[in-house]
């Protein structure tokens, strides 16, 4: 079991992506990540939550952070995080926007996982070493 567990749930509306980002940044700073790592965490959370935002503002976005020894792991869960695009799919502006976001997450955290359950519901995971 994780030594410390943090969780947050906000409406899946654009207005609250910043709330989740601030929360994640505060945890990252509190467990002792460097300011550069804190910035990376905030960016990845922002991208992940943006992927979970619904036009109608319904549904929720969940953010869980777990510190386990020297690893801080994040998971963002949304009812509306679609799987990454396959290359042959015709991109809508909306799906293009999301794929840029996924790319940003993966370049910040190469081991990031974008997992989908069915068509839309999904979770995005990434982890950061503490003091690494």
């Amino acid at each position: 079991m994780a030594e410390e567990r943090f969780s947050l749930r906000v409406p899946a509306a654009a207005a609250y992506v910043g709330t989740a980002r601030i929360f994640g940044g505060a945890i990252a700073r509190q467990v002792g990540l460097s300011e550069d790592d804190v910035d990376d965490v905030k960016l990845a959370i922002s991208e992940a939550c943006a992927a979970g935002v619904r036009e109608d503002g319904d549904g929720t976005i969940g953010l869980v952070a777990e510190r386990d020894g020297a690893i801080l792991a994040f998971e963002i869960v949304g009812e509306d995080i679609p799987p990454p695009l396959s290359d042959d799919l015709v991109a809508t502006p909306e799906s293009f926007r999301r794929s840029v976001g996924y790319d940003v997450i993966r370049s910040l955290f190469p081991d990031a996982a974008i997992l989908s359950e069915g068509d839309r519901s999904g979770r995005i995971r990434f982890a950061v070493p503490i003091g690494g």
């Binding site: 550069d36 960016l43 943006a50």
Partner: protein, 96 residues
């Protein structure tokens, strides 16, 4: 000149896009976006800058960015947009 302040994410990016397009449609074909007051920007914010760039290019105009913030430069670098926009480290150099 468009001075942007605060955090630019999926919530605030539409406002940035709107302001940029307005500025360009008002006839400005050399626009400098000053991001020095921006504490945070993600790819949705970059999308607004790209939308401005596309609009201004239709009019053969130019869009430059002023930015020295490490985190903002980082997301510009990750997306390759630092090669699409001229990025300056001061408003003077952007206008010069």
């Amino acid at each position: 000149m468009l001075e942007v302040n605060g955090e630019v994410d999926i919530y605030t990016a539409p406002k940035l896009r709107e302001k940029l397009i307005e500025l360009i449609d008002a006839g400005n074909d050399r626009v400098v976006v000053d991001l020095e007051g921006v504490g945070f920007m993600d790819s949705t914010g970059l999308g607004s800058l790209v939308a401005g760039l596309k609009r201004i290019r239709e009019k053969d105009g130019e869009l430059a960015i002023v930015c020295t913030s490490g985190p903002v430069l980082k997301v510009l670098g990750i997306t390759g947009l630092d090669r699409v926009f001229p990025v300056h480290d001061s408003v003077g150099s952007a206008l010069g």
